[in-house]
Symmetry: D3
Amino acid sequence: VSAFRLGLVNPNTNTGHTEAMAAVAREVLPSDAEIIARTAPRGPDSIESSADQAIAAAVVAELVRDDPGLDGYLIACFGDPGIDAARELTEAPVVGVAEAAYVAASFVGRRFAVVTTLARSVPEIEDGIHARGLAPRCVGVLPLGIPVNEQGAEFPDTTDAMVAASRRAVGELGAETIVLACGAMTKVAQAIQERVGVPVCDGVAFGALLAWSLGRAELGTSKAGSFAWPEKIAYVGMLPLSPRP
Amino acid sequence: VSAFRLGLVNPNTNTGHTEAMAAVAREVLPSDAEIIARTAPRGPDSIESSADQAIAAAVVAELVRDDPGLDGYLIACFGDPGIDAARELTEAPVVGVAEAAYVAASFVGRRFAVVTTLARSVPEIEDGIHARGLAPRCVGVLPLGIPVNEQGAEFPDTTDAMVAASRRAVGELGAETIVLACGAMTKVAQAIQERVGVPVCDGVAFGALLAWSLGRAELGTSKAGSFAWPEKIAYVGMLPLSPRP
Amino acid sequence: VSAFRLGLVNPNTNTGHTEAMAAVAREVLPSDAEIIARTAPRGPDSIESSADQAIAAAVVAELVRDDPGLDGYLIACFGDPGIDAARELTEAPVVGVAEAAYVAASFVGRRFAVVTTLARSVPEIEDGIHARGLAPRCVGVLPLGIPVNEQGAEFPDTTDAMVAASRRAVGELGAETIVLACGAMTKVAQAIQERVGVPVCDGVAFGALLAWSLGRAELGTSKAGSFAWPEKIAYVGMLPLSPRP
Amino acid sequence: VSAFRLGLVNPNTNTGHTEAMAAVAREVLPSDAEIIARTAPRGPDSIESSADQAIAAAVVAELVRDDPGLDGYLIACFGDPGIDAARELTEAPVVGVAEAAYVAASFVGRRFAVVTTLARSVPEIEDGIHARGLAPRCVGVLPLGIPVNEQGAEFPDTTDAMVAASRRAVGELGAETIVLACGAMTKVAQAIQERVGVPVCDGVAFGALLAWSLGRAELGTSKAGSFAWPEKIAYVGMLPLSPRP
Amino acid sequence: VSAFRLGLVNPNTNTGHTEAMAAVAREVLPSDAEIIARTAPRGPDSIESSADQAIAAAVVAELVRDDPGLDGYLIACFGDPGIDAARELTEAPVVGVAEAAYVAASFVGRRFAVVTTLARSVPEIEDGIHARGLAPRCVGVLPLGIPVNEQGAEFPDTTDAMVAASRRAVGELGAETIVLACGAMTKVAQAIQERVGVPVCDGVAFGALLAWSLGRAELGTSKAGSFAWPEKIAYVGMLPLSPRP
Amino acid sequence: VSAFRLGLVNPNTNTGHTEAMAAVAREVLPSDAEIIARTAPRGPDSIESSADQAIAAAVVAELVRDDPGLDGYLIACFGDPGIDAARELTEAPVVGVAEAAYVAASFVGRRFAVVTTLARSVPEIEDGIHARGLAPRCVGVLPLGIPVNEQGAEFPDTTDAMVAASRRAVGELGAETIVLACGAMTKVAQAIQERVGVPVCDGVAFGALLAWSLGRAELGTSKAGSFAWPEKIAYVGMLPLSPRP
């Protein structure tokens, strides 16, 4: 079997996040898989609002347009910004970390809770869960009140807060698994799983595995219908997003 | 009553579209309303794919960031690109033409059909209808197979195709109203309504009226929760989208 | 543009309510709009139960049958009694205050809560929200335990209770806007909005604007399908409801 | 066991319908059950439109108010007009023929189709199915294009049309059972079942059995919440609907 | 009318449960109905887990296969194990106690709560409610933390716990009726109803009545589609489940 | 990384199917993964009806009970019989081929169609899609009218029929991917994908990869809530299903 090249696309401009996520993916993928990590060249350092996400989505689209020939892509931000555009711009499979985390949760428990950063994102996450048809399986979306930039192993208080929220979700709300709603949480997923005692689903590790698995199963993005290559449209002020080969 | 200033934001770069839509809005709004029309300074000339939309959404966010103080906004493209971001970036009400057209249809009939441009956008439109909870009221999304740039009064064959699709929707599918899924169709809505004999709901005219009506009712975008001003985030390579005043 | 004549139909027999609602509509509509207010000639003085509503719905149908030629109608009770019948009985657009309030809320926030009068009506309101496909956007329906006849500006304690319920909805449930579920609350909507600091959506003011807007957009009730004129049926003991012109 | 007195309420004014439905109920109920049949004293001779239904619902409420002490009620029109009001006005169980027919269908097959009178009622029937959560089980609502007043055993062409529609539903749409959407169809249900070869669910016979069964199981309408006795409200021009004993 | 023979199938091996349930059915059915009670010959003594249910479902299928000619069947365990298989294996109507209890609840109130045994079964019960389309009507599933084998009249503490849970459901959650989620609770349903003051819906009594009612209405399981007789398949190590007569 | 031992559980008794599916899994998994294939020791040779499935589910539970210590399980029949029981009986991740195929389809297209064996299983498959929240993404379930035992590479006419059905799904219904609803179809998935030109999602190959991926991500079945070890229950006539270690 030939090597699998995974495009890990970080929609924000923070190279520290990119490296942390690439390391997690590196750890779980078979040794002959290659990780090509990309960091957004412009836009927000972290993504908290829909405004941040709108910018990030455009950048994700441009990054995939510029390198559409890898074997799979992982959009490494829980909002999955630009994922539909990315799917139009390549024939390889494209996985988002939110999708991946929800899929993992759906296999290892009947009910999940989501732990997220700020309260403002709760309705958007709920709407995403509803759009995926998973609302009956979600017992709650719990915000920590701690922004993206204070997530990760170097903020132990954040880990404690995540453990507390997860325990509340399990004990009071009936969660059977926990979904982590932020790429920057990926480094502490195992630690939380050990302390809380239920599966903690992080979309970075499992998303990388999903992209790899789709590749192994020879499943790429369908070019019939929604994700056909973009139409040929004139663009002003920038390279067009329509590279039908 | 003081004048109402409507920001009509055209997410594509085609100034002809902007002018046509501004004229339609001008016609229906009370005479003391003022229309400030904005055209995307970069990006696609028309919007057919998710890739086009991703770029347009970012541009919409930047346009609203640059002029957040108007009395209301109309995002004048059926995909409503960037509308959540726009809502974060102003306290005025923000209306999208898709939302507006569906609202109109929901008042004047129990079942609607959507007439759109290309088949590739059918699933996305269906998903938007589902997300709004309107799936039980939609009898079908009918693509014309004619792109955005061949829509409008100057393409009489397109109008004939729209009439034929609308008649089929009414006669065979049970549609009671028709929703036009493209801002560029706005100029011919009345003509189609007259020929088909059922209400034809165009989000440009009705969306402008909705934005004005929200203003009259003193209803602006809530700053509690989802649409609070964006968080203060460092941006690289561009002006940030976080103008909390 | 010729004047717009709005039929404001109060389904209960309380002329005080009629006048209060007509004044609110008068205030927001353009000056050349005319308001023709109708009060139910028989039935309940206020509407709390499904039994009250059943009577009111029949009366609404008769009122529209008797004057079907206005330019638009507003059914001015949150249960929207008789609205489907009304739509069959005219070609003009017909708006209900519940529909109108939900539409307003959907434009200015992602999550809303409803404040209503008595606990008994909570399930019916919830079912109406579900039928409209808005359940994922509603964070709760909060009853005041205060009947319709103690609503309005002349009952300051009621206003205080509404403010308290609204604050709880925002602070604890994540509401971004408040929907007022009673026509008699319309006079205090602005006061509550100012005190709570989020949009307070009242269907009387916004509903009048919607009816007017539909008229401006030349959208009337579709006569294809559900809202076709009633069939010709023999009636016993009363004037039939089948005025196909 | 004491005798069970069933109030069979015909919402239209056609005594022929009342008698036909009472005969069907009589045939299936145990011999000690008593049927007290009531015909609407005013309103439409048959119910085709929402306008007809609005009048009928008010009359149903008044009929139950006037005799609330029977052991169970059957609202004998497929639109179940006034059923919520009826439930408020008695402690006995209240069954509607639409509800009853859907329940029957849900026990004897996984997929059902509905055969109805006129096309105009299709969306309303679909919405009722959706509100009951049964949309995934319904393969279609098929209108005969024949009004209520041409239903029944004395119109053999109607029976033939019903057989043809039922066969189409089974053969082309995958229906496993047929629901008859009109009380006046009740007399021919057995004949159609024999000719089509799948269960044909008529809400008159089965609804009478359901009301009787609820009585046997000592289950009456809950007076906690939605169906509590109506509030004490002043009524103008008529006897109030608030007989809290 | 000839006698009706009801096959009451107890999916667990506990003959005490079988007898208690048969007695309840005996009490509510007309005197000429005959009850043929069957107890699972192998498997769990009570059913708490999905594993227990998987075994029970297979046994139910075998029991119906061995005696398919009765006039109706009641699967007397709240999980309705093997009910789809049972429907394939007979032409008579088949009713499950969960289905029956939900149907009863839907007629006598707008909102119900479920009282169940152990917390582990809450998600499964919720999923069943969702699959039936009843989620909007359910205000909660409340576990007692008491296993099946401590249910019934001989455990007065359990009855007290059920009363307490039911009162909480009514008082705090807005339940209008209570559904008992365990066949072994059937004996105390009346006692709880009297103490709580709202309808308490037990699927054993009402389910027996439903099976009898379907028989009276001449409605058997449809043999078109889902519940057609099983295909002719070779079986290893056991009598096949394919008795197409 | 230590080797991963996958328990591939064939719910039917056909060892030919087991071997074919094990070979497919073998081909896609990394070389250090080990496949332990199990064939049902009793029950149907293939699974077409709910009756067949009820037997198979019990056997699956017993097979997992007897060997709960592997690193992951794949339930290799599209009905996923006994999967909830299996999850209770092990701490390892358990994947069903239906779940796996739907997950694959959800990543590589927005709309899928299902190709299945007999028409009788269409409603059950549709209900499974609805329960997973995927109904809006499914454009149709197309039966071939060919039983399980005529599926596979040795029946070229079946492959032709699958290609024809898939082309119709893509061309007429808007499918973007195809889901194969039978484990025995797994051998021809690639051939169909090549001929039809859209992704063809087979749950055997991708399901094996999912189980392996869950293992790599250290995600096992949650023992909190639904899938806790079975309760300790007395069993009659067989080894109990309650091996809490």
